[in-house]
């Protein structure tokens, strides 16, 4: 079952070496129910990645707080999975070793973890690529493996940072559908960061349009359409327009 997220007045300030501070996020509040698919949409520099880092526990907020399943977040969340923007696969491990990495850290035996890793490679459509090194794989394949690697520990919260941003459109669509299938099966809560309006509307149940501080981020937009969605349907195009308007507003105010 997915995790519930409550974010309350969240703020994050970075201090540079010269004493200069940068406000990456300010006054952000939202809630996310267990099993939700939340898309965070926003232009570059609005603090999307920072938000994910805060949610994962890799970074600590300077203001406000994060509750996950009503518990304040301390350090790395034990049930969170993370898929990075660029391929963060370990280049010295083969595909199988990458997917099995988390189980190896838990001390699981080689046979047991490899069996599970094979299962997950198969789930993302890469059966037979066990022995490939990351540098031998295309960008799409690498992100599939990153997905399998994050899912093998059955996370209740899956954080994805523009995972398909560098892929061509057709590959991106395939991976979006794989992600939706996996979400339906695992019922994990998903927080998906993207700068692509169409991607957000295709995937998200709710879309939070983030604006760079000091602008306030908008309320989350509900996309009340069942998956799989038809990109050509009228209601899809209408939602697309609605979200794009909110998105354009953040851009105009910024520049």
């Amino acid at each position: 079952m997915g995790a519930a997220i409550t974010i309350d007045n969240l703020g994050k300030r970075y201090s540079a070496d010269d004493g200069h501070t940068v406000q990456a996020i300010s006054n952000l509040s939202f809630q996310c129910n267990p099993g939700d698919f939340l898309c965070i949409l926003g232009p570059t520099g609005c603090g999307k990645t920072t938000l994910l880092r805060l949610l994962s526990g890799l970074a600590k907020p300077t203001e406000g707080r994060i509750l996950i399943d009503r518990q304040p977040l301390e350090g790395i969340h034990p049930k969170a999975g993370y898929v990075f923007q660029q391929s963060a696969l370990f280049p010295w491990l083969r595909a199988l070793g990458n997917v099995a990495f988390a189980l190896r850290m838990q001390g699981m035996s080689r046979e047991a973890r490899n069996e599970q890793a094979r299962f997950w490679l198969d789930r993302v459509g890469l059966a037979g690529f066990e022995r490939a090194y990351p540098h031998e794989l295309s960008g799409g394949m690498a992100q599939r493996i990153a997905l399998a690697r994050a899912l093998i520990v059955k996370p209740s919260l899956l954080l994805l940072d523009e995972p398909f941003g560098a892929l061509d459109e057709r590959t991106r669509h395939t991976l979006q559908n794989i992600l939706l299938d996996l979400w339906r099966e695992t019922r994990a809560t998903i927080v998906f960061v993207t700068h692509n309006v169409e991607e957000a509307v295709y995937l998200g149940q709710r879309i939070l349009v983030m604006a760079p501080p000091p602008e306030k981020s908008s309320e989350a937009i509900l996309i009340d359409q069942p998956h799989p969605r038809d990109r050509l349907s009228e209601e899809f195009v209408a939602s697309l327009l609605q979200v794009r308007k909110a998105f354009e507003k953040t851009l105009c105010r910024g520049y």
Binding site: L58, G81, W92, L93, F101, Y133, A150
Partner: protein, 282 residues
């Protein structure tokens, strides 16, 4: 971008062009002044009979000299590896250790190992592995008696710094992305070191090992020229010079080159195997 690799035969032929030219030049020079430059045949005669004790040279056989030089390098180099790699990994991971160690390292690094030879002789005298193990009975174990600590220390010095710096650099170059990815996959601090930092530093460490071995091999020849030595390739070169039997010096030089080439090739094959993932990662 790497070009398509040429066939083995092509590379062999290309690599042999310059050595062949050198041999030609050598042959020409020896035909002009046979007293200073030994002929190819004379040098070949030395190389072809490595076990023969040189009749008019106060030196062990070519084979014995090679063995003793290799043994000295092996011990000094092993000490360097087992001291520099752990120290490098520690320095890279602790700012306190770095602040204590690195200033001295940067000061000491440019000092040529040979510059320490007089001091090393004062410190270690003529004590050797043999004399340390068997005391005054050492003459029974002549081979180990030839492994003087002074020379081992010099080799250690020569190989230590490149290995140390490469290890430090390897750890420092670990990408934050990989560390964070491993953290998100529930790696503990200790596991981060073992499963992320070490493998990602390994190619750099191996490069350091290669540079270090090359230096150790270079330094030993110079160290063996010092007085009091009775064996080794460097010693053979010196004595052959003293009695003007240059074919021995030439044979030694060729052998030094061949062995250095072999050591480098072996370590490179090892690092290509271990760092296979890195070869195409760009």
């Amino acid at each position: 971008m790497k070009k398509k690799s040429a066939s083995l035969l092509h590379r062999l032929i290309a690599g042999l062009i310059l050595p062949a030219l050198l041999l030609g030049l050598w042959h020409f020079a020896s035909s002009r002044s046979a007293t200073v430059v030994p002929s190819l045949g004379e040098v070949w005669a030395v190389l072809a009979h490595p076990l023969r004790e040189p009749p008019n040279l106060d030196s062990p056989s070519l084979f014995a000299c090679t063995a003793i030089s290799l043994a000295r390098v092996a011990i000094g180099y092993a000490l360097a590896v087992f001291s520099a790699v752990p120290l490098g990994l520690t320095v890279a991971r602790s700012d306190a250790v770095r602040r204590i160690v690195m200033p001295l390292v940067e000061f000491a690094r440019p000092i040529c190992p040979i510059a320490w030879m007089p001091l090393a002789i004062i410190l270690f005298g003529f004590s050797s592995l043999g004399s340390a193990l068997w005391g005054h009975q050492a003459w029974r174990h002549d081979f180990l008696g030839q492994i003087q600590f002074a020379m081992v220390a010099i080799i250690w010095w020569g190989a230590f710094f490149p290995i140390l710096l490469a290890s430090v650099q390897g750890v420092e170059q670990t990408r934050t992305l990989y560390l964070e990815a491993a953290l998100m996959l529930r790696a503990t601090r200790r596991q981060l070191f073992r499963h992320v930092i070490l493998p990602s530093a390994l190619p750099s460490v191996l490069t350091g090992l290669r540079v270090g071995l090359g230096l150790a091999w270079m330094v030993i020849i110079a160290a063996e020229i010092f007085p009091g030595t009775r064996s080794g390739l460097g010693y053979m070169i010196t004595t052959s010079h003293q009695v003007a039997q240059y074919e021995y010096a030439f044979a030694c030089i060729i052998l030094i080159g061949v062995l250095g080439f072999g050591m480098n090739a072996a370590l490179r094959a090892l690092s290509l195997r271990v760092g296979r993932w890195q070869a195409k990662e760009r």
